[in-house]
Symmetry: C2
Subunit: 402 residues, 2 copies
């Protein structure tokens, strides 16, 4: 049985295998928003409810469900929970796990467990719902969820900066934390090659001087003074030689145009050709060394290949994608995967920051995780789904049947 | 084997039974702070490190570990994780679970599982660490943790308000969200009887007119403008008849004095005499009905008893404690527990918001939780600790031995 939400997944968690013997359990008719509490800041929605619909409903109460993903018109609540989805609001509000207060789950044996409590604090018994968040439908079927809402911020400021190095990007991040604190709601990185693809395929150009790296910095607050704080941050960064050029959006239209530069990267990259994708996270301070080593490894493994680097630097999560060269064969993808993932693990990172293991990254995780971790995860699977009824082969390799 | 941190627990999770046959595993010599990363905003510390020590170390880098509990000079990192501790910073930064990025855990069979990754985003495999957070040492022994740090806010404002009802308190909470957004960092409630105990035993009086309820409202931000926002909130609340009286602290000394009114409640209550304690959470909108029904039940069950109500209203968590009357016998405690807990469950709440089940609340949880939830928790325990080696009888009742 393969539970499926909006079927937008990037690593195959919701896709049945090729055997023709798996049953897709579509949740797209369970769409009811059962409750919105604008004072208690919670929404209770069924698994098939669409993210955009839930956000629109919250907005009528001046509240928001802070999960921002490109496909929000098709993503479902169940899919968000099952994959512990990330997106553009993680820096400020965390992953979907951090927003999940309660779940209703159907276990593989058919038991319905109702944990739809709309509570911020609940230390009664084990917090079993955590097991199902991010487990990609392999332990139980999420049928409804209680999620946290947040007040909609009244003020918002976006800046685009050009910097010469990743080191300078990290310096800027530290300064932004000091200046803006946790009103800092976005700190996105776009490398020069990614920005060039956006220009070529989406016709958008950054309104600042060409740089090795671009940073989109966003702040949100109920309080005023964001624009002043952003301008001061920029000015200090120029004076100290940390930023090369930059602009603070003067209107929400201009902010939207700046964000489009970031949002169009994925489709522009796709228009350029097929790429080998990596969704990695690292401790922030490891990025300079990791990126230098990755470029070196890339040059020696596949001289015609080009890296496309962009992502949520503030969350420690970047997409290190590689456009293969003309002469490269499919086996290059596998070699590259292993090379990049080895580097990630050596620097204390994760080979799947926000897209999950699904099918595509199962073997790599198994190769790289410690035996103790794999064994613990296998124990959890056996405990909840001893017959491997749910989503077999996803996350964990399926044991051979006797 | 009973793992023990600072031994400050309020519900007996770290206390061995009376048999004399249990072994206390003290972690108080594992005190090393292994790493602080002020840019990546993480701290890695061993289980026995003291909260205050870790906060002091973070402060030297301009960062903070946002967990504020009265006994922070004796609370340990391991204890915080094992109990998923709450405290005064939950409204803004969540429970300890929300701050925990990685764990090192020893399983009951002796396996060491190293998950000390300092990553905000990691969707590789099941997030097994969640099982151990808040499980009160019944599933594994936490030996070290990676926790999130936050930038230290430069501005802080505290206001004390008097209101006539819990309904008005909730109205004020909604307005504070609109006006201050998520710079709102504290929204604490103190009932009149609790405030009278503080006056009697600690000699502190609120600098505003006597009210049925007092609210301590705190905001923190890197941005200026908090005091203006708090004053505007107060003025509007007076004009609309929601607040009776109020004051915004004019200095950090005055803010400290206002907070002392809240912080001295527990010790003042203890000085008055023994009380029956309830640590409950509810959806915010359920509080008016719950409190009215609880007072009614109290009057009929135990006419001489007095309630002492205070707590983290913004988190939906209050301590509903009861000072028994002169003629009340010990069995009144049990009757009261059941009465209050029945009400809590009827309103969709939890009977243990932040103190855990330990020993004291195990039977009540078992009585009130659904069979499906208890069975799922028992399955998790059997999966990880099939021989009940760790902390037997805590959280879950121990099955009888053959």
């Amino acid at each position: 049985v393969v539970p499926q939400g909006g079927n937008t997944g990037l690593s195959g968690g919701a896709v049945p295998d090729a055997s023709g013997r798996e049953l897709v359990l579509a949740l797209d008719r369970m769409t009811t928003i059962r409750d919105i509490d604008p004072v208690g800041l919670t929404v209770t929605a069924e698994a098939g409810a669409i993210l955009q619909t839930v956000r629109d409903a919250a907005a009528t109460h001046g509240r928001d469900l802070p999960i921002s993903l490109a496909p929000q018109g098709s993503v479902t609540i169940g899919g968000l929970v099952a994959t512990n989805a990330g997106g553009l609001d993680v820096l400020r509000h965390g992953m979907t796990r951090d927003l999940t207060l309660g779940l209703e789950v159907v276990l593989p044996d058919g038991t319905v467990v109702d944990g739809l409590r709309a509570l911020r604090k609940d230390n009664a018994g084990y917090d079993w719902k955590q097991l199902f968040i991010g487990s990609e439908g392999t332990l139980g079927v999420v049928t409804a969820a209680v999620l946290r809402l947040v007040p909609r911020p009244r003020h918002e400021t976006t800046a685009l900066l050009g910097v010469a190095s990743v080191e300078d990007s990290l310096r800027l991040f530290a300064r932004a934390q000091d200046a803006i604190g946790d009103a800092l709601s976005g700190f996105e990185l776009v490398g020069r090659s990614a920005m060039e693809l956006v220009a070529r395929h989406s016709g958008l150009e950054p309104p600042i001087r060409a740089s090795a790296w671009y940073l989109l910095v966003q702040a949100r607050s109920a309080l005023p003074g964001l624009r002043e704080a952003a301008l001061a941050l920029l000015e200090n960064a120029f004076n100290d030689g940390i930023a090369i050029d930059g602009v603070v959006a003067e209107s929400s239209d201009q902010a939207t145009r700046l964000w489009a530069l970031r949002e169009r990267v994925t489709e522009s990259e796709a228009a350029e050709g097929p790429s080998v994708k990596h969704d990695v996270s690292l401790p922030l301070r490891a990025f300079p060394a990791f990126l230098a080593e990755a470029e070196e490894a890339l040059a020696s493994a596949s001289p015609g290949a080009r890296s496309v680097v962009f992502g949520h630097l503030g969350d420690g999560n970047i997409h290190y994608n590689v456009l293969l060269g003309r002469g490269d064969e499919p086996r290059h993808a596998e070699i590259l995967n292993r090379t990049i993932h080895d580097l990630v693990v050596r620097h204390g990172g994760s080979i799947s920051a926000e897209h999950g293991l699904g099918q595509y990254r199962v073997a790599e995780w198994r190769r790289l995780a410690s035996a103790a971790e794999v064994a613990l995860c296998a124990r959890i699977k056996s405990c909840l789904d001893p017959e491997f009824r749910l989503n077999p082969g996803k996350v964990l390799p399926q044991p051979e049947r006797d």
